[in-house]
């Protein structure tokens, strides 16, 4: 029996596999055992903010998360740190020194930028993130007029109370705006394109008493703790769990009104007006929800009514073509709607049926009239400010490359919108 076991062991030792795996374990085990956990070495950044402070210095703020097994979104500890420096790279180094960990931006899903930086041009500030292989290119770029750090601070407390994060707001707005396109990679895609205009969403901070057209208020409060300076860096720390401990409390909350900014070659050009934003909502391919409006509708059943139809689904197709050497950008819009509200002087009992599938030819024409009006405003404003809101050049470049090149030679690359014609074909169906 003994001899048999010995033979088995001897035969095993002859097998090269055993030696290879022994060496593999011998090499891998010390690395695994003596290397500290990555969470001890790396501060996981979820949101990053870039500001220019009152002294004109660049300030980078990061919202870090402390991952733990028992943490849920409600009890996870979020901390805000910030550091000043000459450029983003120096700020990140100083942040790392202040936190005592490497700043890991692999999970950073949003970069908030102060509006003053947009006026200067943001490309120099984003260069660091392009070269960092760690940051994923789908991080959202958001503008905060009140300052990026301010928004991050409010996000900390908002997350604690309502589990709101900037990303979730952006995802919600996606149905109504261009926002899922507002990523870092898309910024560069546009920057190096024929029309380097880029639309960036605005998410701001407001006092909870401040009225906005967006509803919702919160008791969330934030507290500023004393900033500490270390080797030229200021570190500002805010714990979401310690918010009620300080004396003075600022009632602040996130303000999201679906507004956007337009950047041209990385610099702020203008803020989209409410009308332009609405037109983008209706005419963009990426949005699927919104409302259609018709004013002064008079039919058998309606008297000077303002009718609002809710878009439950929309399909917008773009088509580029040339007619007599002129570029024509055609929009084919198909909306599926349901009647959302009727505002008029007097109501009858029949209106109380609350039908949602009402649509007659007069109402349809009124809605189309309104869409034509806002579309015309958007296109005219685009022509005057040389902003190609619907990226028409992409379609001409893709489907009529030769004609497009000739056209650009004729009118000049920067003036291609001047002679562009827009046509719209609208179909409206009611939801049954």
């Amino acid at each position: 029996m003994k001899a048999k076991w010995w033979n088995i062991i001897r035969s095993k030792y002859k097998n090269m596999t055993v030696y290879v795996f022994l060496i593999l374990f011998g090499v891998a085990t010390p690395f695994a055992m003596f290397t500290p956990a990555q969470t001890e070495k790396v501060a996981v950044v979820t949101t990053l903010g870039i500001d220019k402070n009152e002294q004109g210095q660049l300030e980078v703020s990061v919202l870090t998360i402390a991952p733990s097994g028992s943490a849920t979104p409600e009890n996870q500890t979020l901390q805000l740190y910030s550091a000043v420096g000459e450029d983003v790279s120096q700020c990140m180094l100083r942040l790392s020194l202040a936190i005592g960990k490497e700043v890991g931006i692999a999970h950073c899903d949003s970069i908030v930028i102060d509006k003053t930086l947009l006026e200067e041009g943001i490309t120099p500030y984003l260069d660091y993130f392009v070269r960092s292989s760690n940051l994923i290119s789908n991080a959202f770029l958001i503008c905060c007029p009140s300052g990026a750090k301010e928004l991050l601070q409010v996000t900390t407390s908002e997350k604690n109370d309502y589990n709101l994060s900037l990303r979730s707001i952006i995802f919600h707005l996606d149905d109504y705006m261009f926002t899922t396109q507002a990523t870092l990679s898309y910024y560069y895609e546009k920057l190096f394109s024929q029309n380097p205009s880029y639309i960036m969403p605005i998410i701001d901070v407001k006092d909870s008493k401040e009225p906005t057209f967006a509803t919702g208020s919160t008791n969330a409060s934030t507290s500023e703790e004393d900033s500490t300076s270390s080797s030229g860096s200021s570190s500002n720390q805010q714990s979401s769990q310690g918010q009620s401990s300080s004396g003075e409390q600022n009632q602040k909350t996130i303000k999201s009104e679906g507004k956007s900014l337009v950047l041209y070659q990385g610099k702020l050009v203008k803020e989209l007006s409410q009308e332009e934003s609405y037109a983008m909502n209706i005419l963009a391919k990426t949005t699927s929800k919104g409302i259609l409006m018709a004013y002064d509708v008079t039919t058998d059943q309606l008297q000077n009514a303002k009718v609002t139809m809710k878009i439950t689904n929309s399909q917008v197709q773009y088509q580029a073509k040339f007619l007599d050497g002129k570029p024509v950008f055609h929009l084919d819009c198909h909306y599926v709607c349901s009647l959302d509200s009727i505002v008029m002087g007097e109501y009858e009992l029949s209106d109380y049926q609350a039908t949602t599938s009402y649509l007659d030819s007069i109402l349809e024409d009124k809605i189309k009239e309104h869409i034509f009006a806002i579309a015309s405003t958007l296109f005219n404003n685009g022509k005057s400010s040389k902003i190609d809101y619907l990226e028409s050049y992409r379609y001409f470049e893709a489907y009529h490359p030769q004609e497009w090149k000739e056209y650009l030679k004729k009118v000049g690359e920067e003036n291609y919108l001047d002679s562009m014609l827009y046509t719209i074909d609208i179909t409206i169906d009611t939801k049954i």
């Binding site: 090269m16 992409r394 490359p401």
Partner: protein, 370 residues
Amino acid sequence: MKEVTSSQLGKMLFLSIISMKLTIIPALVTKYCGTDGKIGIMILTMLDFLTMLIYVNCMEKYPNMTMGEILKVGLGKVAHILFFTILFLFFGIKCVFIVKQAHIYLVDNLVEEMHWLAFTIPLLLFLFYVMIKGRRVLARTIEFLFFMVLISFAFTLLIPIMKWKVTNILPLMENDWGSLLKGLFFVNFIIGDYFLLLVFVGRVKIDASLKRTLIGYALSAVVLVWVFYFVFYGVFGKIAINQGLAISDLPLSAVYPSTIGRLDWVSVICWVFVILMIMAIMFVLVKSCFEEVIPCNKYWSSLIIVGVLFVVMAILYFDLEAFIQLITSTWFCAICLAVQTLMPFVVWLASVRVNRKMMEKPVRFQKEQS
């Protein structure tokens, strides 16, 4: 000895075809060919595919002779040594490249930092083990893990599909043919995938479906590579030049990762296995060529290869840029192009001369063979 079946060889060929083209190369192709890189990759892969027919014919014609024997009989011993030395160097450089891209892939996706020894030592041990085990064990392992390749492909292509835009890939040709061909000259190193078949001439079980099977696997791989490039350019467009690691950048570029869960992890884990298998294939090929040039014990040949690679990696490890500069330098590309063009011709010539010898002196030839 017939070491592999036609199906196993087909699967290895499949991996060999995709091995170089999906990680660092897409950005490199974009650097030289712009967004016309998708057409460029179609041209390169089709040209490469044509050479396959010569190798498969040779394989079918001489089922009992290895490539080494064909060369010795057809062109002499010097040509044989020269042929396998060139092949050894070709596969060797590919090995260094693939190991480096495997490291970048792991650092990009799985770990923040990785000491080079922690990566190199276990990897070289694994590769040493695979080389000792030889072609047969490798072929069977790949047959077993082949489904992972398909899963990896499926997830890599499906996750970012929402970002795909037809306007990013049109027009198909943005620049002229001259600049495209010039660009292709600088990336011709990425083809030559069918050289793998040369190592398996005389070592594969010949059956009626050999040609059909190999062409089937090769064409599937080529089509998948095309689809990959069309998705890649459709998602990134002109900024494809910045996507240093295409197979991980594609799923990570999706803006809905939190809503679709961490499906990209399936892709990441599968790709780790796929990359390991690709490295194993390359190392076995290097070892086979080495043994043709310097006949020696499998332990010694494997040890020498692992040792040389360790030294090369210690020198080149931290500098991928330098390595890419080397493989895209004009002289290197010219040599590569010459090798890629001459190899099929040499194989064809050797095959013809062996055939002539067989016709002239069939009895003597058979004695020589025996």
